[in-house]
Subunit: 435 residues, 2 copies
């Protein structure tokens, strides 16, 4: 039975219990949310037997983040990817997607699943395309077989671009950047070559049976997501979202868990409505957004352009944020890019959690601020999202251990530290009030 099927039957699974403890939630609430489809626990039965520590994705719990790693045909080895996995998990990534598209794809994936305590997601079409010369040579059976192959390996969730329908392709012709999802564009090419409907859509029932057998969670991909601000919120994007809503119900009928992928590139004032629209059209299935970037003019800094959109999405109720690294649009992220991306997204998710008033979230902020006021530099570093970076920036000008309890830093210097002066003021005020 999948987590969804168990939940529906009123069963609280070990995974649900584990999740409830992690989230400081009632186990019955976790069960109810999973049963309702408003929360997923991506836990392939084959990964659950290994190192996986179950986690949940849903609006009732903390907002999560995902880090994409994986090689491309141009660059990346197994060891590189394992190091990126380690960096991402160490810094707090809640799930990791292996988007490898070149070389030893199977080996990288198995190594990542075996090593990972967090759910691993994939996009099966990336490997399918490796086995053919042309996208048109792909057959529906190859697609189903690849999903089963990866499911057996233990993949916890898979991006399936089943909502890119043939009739939606003309809706993208006037876009500036067309179709920017790799999976979406491949399905588009296949449909045009064959004059047939998307096989993920036509074979969705068979697909559900495989996904159900291993309890692989659907991440219904947004193959027609906007690739720039100008293309945001167009008919192509929302037509696909409607289809994803229809497929959500079908997957749920089969007992499969579902989340919905979201854009992409969206101006700030339209982010909230995108979250609300997903909720309405996709029956409250958890929304898993990629950014969105709120401007297109900052290649090299798209972890920032997108963290702004991601924070807005989190505040509006998105359940998971897929990170974007500084290398987006420019090249394959390396280990340091992974670090930058993960931290930017931990910030976005946490800011959203604060804004939504989620339980216990602000305690860490308050503890760090208290340490700051008390000039407890070491504690300040420990409580920060990236202690190593915080410490090294501080130590750039004041490396000696004595400065770890100094009542100032090099920003203002000793005479100008407002916090030190505030402490003096409080002491003075006490003197004034007493005798």
């Amino acid at each position: 039975m999948t987590q969804l099927e168990s939940a529906r039957q009123g069963i609280i699974t070990d995974a649900m219990r584990f999740v409830a403890q992690r989230e400081d939630m009632d186990a019955e609430l976790v069960r109810a949310e999973v049963a309702r489809g408003r929360m997923v626990i991506p836990a392939n039965i084959n990964h659950l037997q290994k190192k996986l520590e179950p986690m949940c994705i849903g609006v009732a719990s903390l907002c999560k983040i995902n880090a994409n790693i994986g090689n491309s045909a141009v660059t990346g080895t197994v060891d590189d990817e394992l190091e990126k996995l380690h960096t991402a998990v160490h810094l707090g990534s809640d799930t990791v997607m292996d988007l490898s598209t070149g070389g030893n794809i199977d080996g990288i994936r198995q190594a990542l699943i075996d090593a990972s305590p967090v759910p691993i997601g994939t996009v099966p079409i990336y490997q399918i395309i490796q086995n053919v010369k042309d996208p048109a040579d792909i057959t529906p059976q190859m697609m189903l077989d690849m999903v089963e192959h990866q499911a057996k390996q233990g993949v916890d969730y898979m991006t399936i671009h089943a909502g890119v329908l043939r009739e939606y392709l003309p809706l993208t012709t006037n876009r500036i950047t067309g179709i920017v999802s790799r999976g979406g564009s491949l399905m588009g090419a296949w449909m045009l070559a064959h004059h047939k409907q998307n096989p993920w859509y036509t074979h969705f029932n068979e697909l559900c049976e495989i996904m159900r057998a291993y309890d692989v969670t659907y991440s219904l991909g947004d193959g027609l997501r906007p690739g720039c601000i100008a293309d945001a919120n167009d008919r192509a994007q929302f037509a696909e979202l409607e289809t994803l809503g229809e497929l959500t119900l079908k997957a749920w009928e089969h007992g499969c868990q579902v989340m919905i992928e979201g854009p992409g590139h969206i101006p700030m004032h339209l982010v909230k409505m995108n979250v609300e629209k997903e909720r309405a059209l996709c029956h409250d299935a958890p929304f898993y957004v990629l950014g969105p970037l709120v401007t297109d003019i900052a290649p090299g800094y798209d972890h920032i352009t997108s963290a702004i959109g991601a924070a807005l999405a989190a505040e509006a109720g998105a359940a998971m944020l897929c990170y974007v690294t500084p290398k987006e649009h420019l090249g394959l992220p390396n280990k340091d890019d992974v670090r930058q991306g993960v931290i930017a997204y931990k910030i976005a998710a946490h800011a959203g959690d604060i804004a939504r008033g989620r339980k216990n979230v602000r305690q860490r902020d308050d503890a760090l601020s208290k340490a700051r006021f008390e000039f407890d530099w070491n504690k300040q570093f420990e409580l920060s999202l990236d202690p190593e970076t915080a410490r090294s920036m501080h130590d750039e000008t004041l490396p000696q251990e004595v400065f770890k309890s100094a009542k100032f830093c090099s920003m203002c210097g000793p005479k100008f530290c407002s916090m030190r002066i505030t402490q003096d003021i409080r002491k003075m005020a006490e003197t004034v009030v007493s005798p």
Copy 2:
């Protein structure tokens, strides 16, 4: 006559005309906004005679950003600061504040003013304190003299913490981080030592006369701004804001231009209300915010935590965003930190401009996206906020010139480029439609 006084008399000054051209606005609209106090043109008459290129700050125009530079007693030379000025202006900072607090303060300031095409702001109390042993030794006359001295040098706007009233100090005692403004805490210390009201407040009329004589714009400082999320939106913060509203009217009576400084540290869901409150209490005077940071847990990345808040403030109508660098809370920013801070804030301001639907703003996004779709890498770099960084990230894996027109990058590799596939799809679709 100040810009405000000219505007009130119906005169369109050269500075207004220059601003109107830069902003693609009607000169009469600029005049009307300045007259109304909803826009400022910080242009000291002594800087206007040098290299200053007048600019405006107000909700009717594009959102602006400020970069803080300046040394501390612990680190920084004249050449360092000139280099930071150059970096900030080169990357698009609209104004620069010299917050030097140690060493050759006068020399650094004069060098910056002489070299700068953008308005230079200062916080006079930072130099006043250099001339005494203890904050309590400061006299009101020393304060007025220093303002006049800096005004003569050509400073375009000054942060004056005139709203930190004696009776507000007890409101900060239960805060986690107390008073975090350096100027605010110094005035607090002075008031407690003397049992007297804030001299900036008691001598405000005399101060106005000096500011008016050189047309120095007031940046009424928020000395009681929250220094952490927990202290946000408290009585201390808003009591001071009310006083700043009162002082705005008084400054306007004297013909002085005014903007209002804002927080600081504010959770996402309270940013908009802060902007609206400022507008109401301070009679539409331009709001100049510092961030705000939307979480406290990411020292080393506060350019990001604060860019999220700054973007929200910009969307809500803030007129200028004061940048925060990655070094915030940890040390004095160096040249690279200045770069990171400026770009993060250009992103925030631009995202806000897009969300507000300001004229012509999205053209650059669309042009860059078009270049992206057309694989015109060089044009893509040229149009980006930081061409140098974008180019170097791309070149990390594909440095050869031939890849500047390649139909892929190292992120996805040649086989997986969705934009290339989209172009193929469009060609295929044409073939299908035509005979």
